[in-house]
Amino acid sequence: MNQDQILCFMIRLQLHIRKLLVPLAIGLFGSLSIAMAEGDSAATEAERKSLEIFEKQVRPAMLEHCIRCHGAEKQRGGLRLDSAEGWAVGGDSGPALVPHDTTSLLLQAIRYQDPIVEMPPKGKLPSRVIEAFEAWVALGAVDPRREVAPRNDASDAVPGIDEGREFWAFQPLAPVAVPESDSGEWPETPIDRFIFAGLERNGLAPNPPADRGTLLRRVYYDLVGLPPTPQEIREFLADRSDKALEKVVDRLLSSPRFGQRWGRHWLDVVRFAESSGGGRTLLFPDAWRFRDYVIESFNRDLPYNRFLKEQIAGDLLPWDNWQQRQRQLVATGFLLLGPTNYEMQDKGILEMDVVDEQLDTIGKAFLGMTIGCARCHDHKFDPIPTSDYYAMAGIFKSTKSLIHSNVSSWNKVGLPLPDDQESRLAAHQRAVAAVKRALKKATERWEQAGGDAKPGRGDRKSLDPKQIGAVVIDDDDAQRIGAWKESVAIAQFVGSRYLHDESAGKGEKQVVYHHRFDSPGEYEIFVSYSAGSNRSTRVPIRVFHRGGETLIRVDQRKRPKVDGTFVSLGTFNFDSENPLKLIVSNEDTDDGVVIADAVAIAESSSSISTLIRQTDDETEKGAADDTADAEQLRGLEARVKELTRELQQLEKSGPMRPVAMAVQDDPDGGDIHLMIRGVVGQHGPLTPRGVMQVAAWEPFPSIPEGSSGRLEYADWIADERHPLTARVMVNRIWHWMMGRGIVRTVDNFGSTGEPPSDPALLDYLAGEFIRDGWSVKKLIRRIALSRVYQLSSAPGEQAAIDGANRGMWRMNRKRLRAEDIRDSILAVSGSLDHRYAGPAIKSGTKIEYGYEFDSRRRSVYLPVFRNTLPEVFEVFDFADPNIQLGARSTSTIAAQALWLMNHPDMLRATRKAASRLLATSHESDLERIEYAFLQVLGRPPTAVERRISFNLLLGEATTEAPQVSPTENWAMLYQALFQSIDFRYLN
């Protein structure tokens, strides 16, 4: 022990041993213990002993096993064990140790009492060490170690809110003056003036404009994602008017294909997919409505702030007609389309995971903020404290996003329909109700006449256990293992319900019944179940009794013998040593559903069958007695059957109300507690609902009782005073048009993102965007008609000064995206299916695995599954739908080349393109070559390219490569063009 430690040690002792009178200024441990021994209280004696145990056993054990994760370097679970304060204050779960308390958490953990917290994780300590800890604590847990360094957390200064507002992205939008330009005619639009001013400052000059063919191809792909046809190219090149480009831009902006291209951009941003992903991925059969909504919104040029409001709170907005209501409900699918592990068994955690995913997506998509970081700790880089996170989380926790079950699902809402359809639906519902009433009446009549309605038809659905003259153990009193669904669907069951295994998790589920007998003896055991044709024929039921264990298999498709409810398993002996244990299991029952309901026990002398009511046999006998009655009975039965069929027919054929993935407010919502370190159940203070304070300009409005606050939250984001909303969106549009954002990290406007390369231009665009009524089309038009957009992308000497082109002295060369490649190939081959809107997943699809993507529709209508993407998407850098991604990465991998070289879709399309070409009226191969180049590359061939093409087409036949058909030759040329770099890039 050095002097410092001794000093700390003494202070500690003073804290613990208050009665100690002897001064402790003694330098050696040995002397100390003598000094302590002079104290006369019993407590002192215990504490001295405690200290000794600590020094001899506890301290070395802690050093060896605990400090690495609970010391100065790491504080797992927020806990430090390198000082007495450390364990006294404790971590996330409260104090680790309380002196004298041998149920202290730390002791529980080292005893491996609770499988959730077993410490040390690498293995249980030897029992003598555990005993030493126990003794040390029992004697008072004397620990001389004083806190040396402040806790790590305190030194991690999180940016404060006020300080945070200084950051550029949180500054309010202010009017920006368009730079004056004295030097030239060059700038044509305000955008050009900003860019030109920036270039001048850096001694750069803009590139010359792109040639017109290149420009046309650029505009086509950027606006509608398809190549111009040779005809359109020729027309454009022939149009020498000033308005030639403007005309094309306006035409493309009003084409329905515009929304297909730009809607897909947005679908990237909101991580759109048609399955849930994860281990057991579920299909989203109604997600297509959201895709259609997005495409249509871009085509209608729905103001962006309205667009985002509908996605966050469309269900809460007023509406004028059913179409609007439908649209707004569908829009909220945005909140539900995320990757969610619906299988998760702890539903509390599942709900918070969904909320987290929603906040994370909203943060990145609309605000360019990584809000999710603040779930567990104050954001390390941005001024988002955990309290802001839970203020926002409360809003979404008060929103109904899930329907719970063993495997939960997303919330669904029925959609309103036009009046005529609504009235047809109502008429149908009335018709169904009428048939149901008739059926009920017919069934009653039949039963009164002595008929026995099959389970599920009559209203005699359940039996009160008290009615049964036997000991009854209903499923309420049994022990369930695995996920059983509670059901009342099919009569006839005992008590309030029965249990249904959903034909899932075979071999994983059982229901266990126990009963102790007052007197030993022989008993008959019965089980009840509601029979049905989907049931298993071999439900294993094990009875444990004095003679051992007996397995009985029950066919649950057969109606139970006893009153249609119970079946006897036989007679067994029981005594106090051998109580009844009965297990209904779903093991080895792949042929159907397993039902567990009640168990009844009757003394063997008085069989249960006489205790309830009549048996099947009696019914049959009674009915057979009188032929006249029997005839009447058959007539009544026929009527029941007829009505049943009618009902089934009606229910199958009638109109159905369409449903959408949509949210609703949860009337029981409210503020939630902060969750310490993000752990569900570790409550911190209650956090009033609200928004990110650093981007708020006024207090959050009070939330009406019973509503979530989502509408108010959406209003906050959609407000033109919001510092982020307009900036983030104009930057996205700039990115999609120019190939790179003014802020290059388009989803991250925080301090770990990049600052804007031209802040004034960003703010100018944001201001104009708002003034234009948040019109996306107007902004695209502004950009497309600027000179900057029309610049050549050719590299030049200036690359040495600004190679990354941050000053925009040239157009960025862009890569064709996966969709562009596929759509172009299909378009050139003449097989692109231009159908607009509607579902994309083939009907009858149950799971994404093995799905065949053989549709010829535009790529935006190919299903996007989280675990299984179309191959062309997978290899050409499609946005991973598991991650919110506003800027796709671009990779260059051999798999892309292989797809273009060998994929059957490619081969099929190039053959079709070739046959099509050969069917045209072109007179020479030269014309055909020219046409093919215009189709694929948007320009005629150069002399060299023409020669290469001829060589390929007319290549000398060799023994190795014998002559092939002309179609095959032309197909090879098309394929080579699609592989060439001038196709794959947008210059």
Partner: protein
């Protein structure tokens, strides 16, 4: 304003340089040069420290083989067979937060000690048993995830829920590949279920690091191919003619922008594809192997033919310089092969199918001197319970304690590390969490799991998240 070296590197895709443009015109394009290697993200990279292994073969036993029926012998199960005992079953606990009784279930298979190390092996694995002196057992494994989906994703990516790169992608990112004509991370006949492609996906790492699948589960191994590696319409010689035209077209087009590294990368990707198209079928052509080698792997006899082929492919891929090869013994169902919730006897079928091929692989690598720097890892996503599930005839999942074994690649041969409790339920001594194993695996390859990071979403990510301890006790 200026591009940093990092940006330059980033923009380059997988191009390996200027030289390729020139090389293109030659029939056999470009062996890589030193200069080009520097610019290629797949080029072999120096590890953080001296590696013990250069490559990995992971024999994935999908579904969760039972530790107490294979390598973790528990005599207590024989003595207490049929008795009811309270166990904190992982599934019951997760769902109901309860601890209930289960019937102790002895192993139907006998154990025997083998080799100088005296390792116990059940009669399920007579072939593997002969090699125990080359094996290193981790018997205190434990992991996250009670169901197959989460646990399988956790095994491969270190996360049960979030989208993270597969460990093979991390390894390739850290080390690059030794053969540019081949993908550096290959998975042979992967399952389409339980996360499917996410188990070999690069997630946010650059796409060059994604795993390449050879075939898929549920099809014969003799038909396993890398997709799009052959043109169904035209003959190879026609395709060569077309490829020559493409080269000329691209040369003409790039002449507008000479020296553009990104365009060169695209051109090079065609060259690589072309070479792969030639090299891969050759490597996967097992008929080139002599008969005695094919027999060693059990190829030609029915139960072992499939897995034997997979294992032999793995050896050939490793020999050719592939960094990470995963061999999957699995299927596409929600209850994958080793998943004996009932009818535990079926373990014998799976053991029969895999025992000889695995033993053959170990022996073959050893006789070729490849075992020294190749790490073999055999294991599933979790283990199984030592008690009967639902008091029936099978065992449920058990993430609390299970066994994997390793061979070669710098681990102690004839060694066993860690232990489960007396029933074989919980790992209790020298426990190794899956995160720890990931950290150790990277360490064996010369990579520091805390240093191997990638910046994404504004923060660095790593395979082991904030966890993982390197288990240096198993190092040779």
């Amino acid at each position: 304003m200026f591009p940093s070296r990092r940006e330059l590197l980033k923009s380059m895709g997988c191009g390996f340089g200027y030289l390729a443009t020139a090389a293109m015109t030659k029939a056999q394009a470009g062996a890589s040069t030193e200069a080009s290697m520097r610019r290629n993200p797949l080029a072999a990279k120096s590890p953080h420290f001296a590696p013990r292994a250069k490559r990995v073969i992971f024999l994935f036993m999908q579904g969760g083989p039972s530790q107490v029926d294979t390598f973790d012998h528990k005599p207590l199960l024989d003595r207490r067979d049929g008795e009811l005992e309270t166990f904190d079953d992982a599934r019951v606990l997760a769902k109901r937060k309860e601890v209930v009784e289960h019937r102790v279930f002895k192993s139907p298979w006998k154990f025997q000690r083998y080799g100088e190390c005296g390792q116990s092996v059940s009669e399920l694995f007579p072939h593997i048993a002969r090699h125990v002196d080359d094996l290193c057992f981790l018997k205190g494994m434990h992991t996250d995830g009670v169901a197959h989906g989460p646990a399988t994703l956790f095994l491969h990516t270190g996360s049960i829920n979030l989208v993270r790169p597969s460990m093979g992608s991390w390894v390739l990112y850290g080390l690059g590949t030794e053969n540019e004509n081949l993908p550096g991370f290959v998975t042979i006949q992967p399952s389409m279920g339980n996360g499917g492609p996410r188990n070999y996906n690069n997630a946010f790492l650059p796409a060059v690091y994604q795993g390449t699948a050879i075939g898929r589960a549920g099809t014969p191994a003799s038909e396993a191919r890398i997709r799009n590696l052959a043109n169904a319409n035209i003959s190879p010689s026609q395709q060569r003619r077309q490829f020559e035209s493409l080269r000329q077209l691209n040369t003409a087009q790039i002449s507008q922008r000479p020296g553009d590294p990104e365009l060169e990368a695209v051109i090079n990707s065609y060259e690589l594809a072309w070479r792969m198209q030639r090299a891969v079928p050759d490597i996967l052509d097992l008929s080139q192997e002599p008969q005695h080698i094919r027999q060693l792997y059990g190829i030609g006899s029915k139960p072992t033919d499939d897995f034997g082929r997979q294992c032999l492919m793995a050896r050939r891929l490793c020999e050719a310089g592939v960094r990470f090869v995963q061999v999957n013994y699995g299927d596409n169902s929600n209850n994958p092969r080793w998943d004996q919730h009932s009818n535990l006897e079926k373990h014998a079928e799976h053991a029969l199918n895999t025992d000889q091929p695995v033993a053959g692989l170990i022996q073959d690598l050893k006789q070729r001197g490849l075992l020294e720097d190749t790490l073999i890892w055999w294991g599933g996503e979790f283990g199984r319970t030592p008690y009967a599930q639902a008091n029936g005839t099978g065992r449920d999942h058990n993430p609390y304690g299970f066994t994997i074994f390793l061979a070669g690649g710098g681990v102690k041969p004839g060694f066993s590390y860690g232990a489960t409790d007396e029933f074989g339920h919980h790992a209790i001594r020298n426990k190794v969490h899956m995160h720890d194993w990931h950290a150790t695996l990277l360490h064996l390859l010369g990579l520091d799991h805390e240093e191997l990071t990638f910046l994404h979403d504004g923060r660095p990510f790593r395979l082991t998240d904030v966890h993982g301890e390197v288990i240096s006790e198993i190092f040779a």
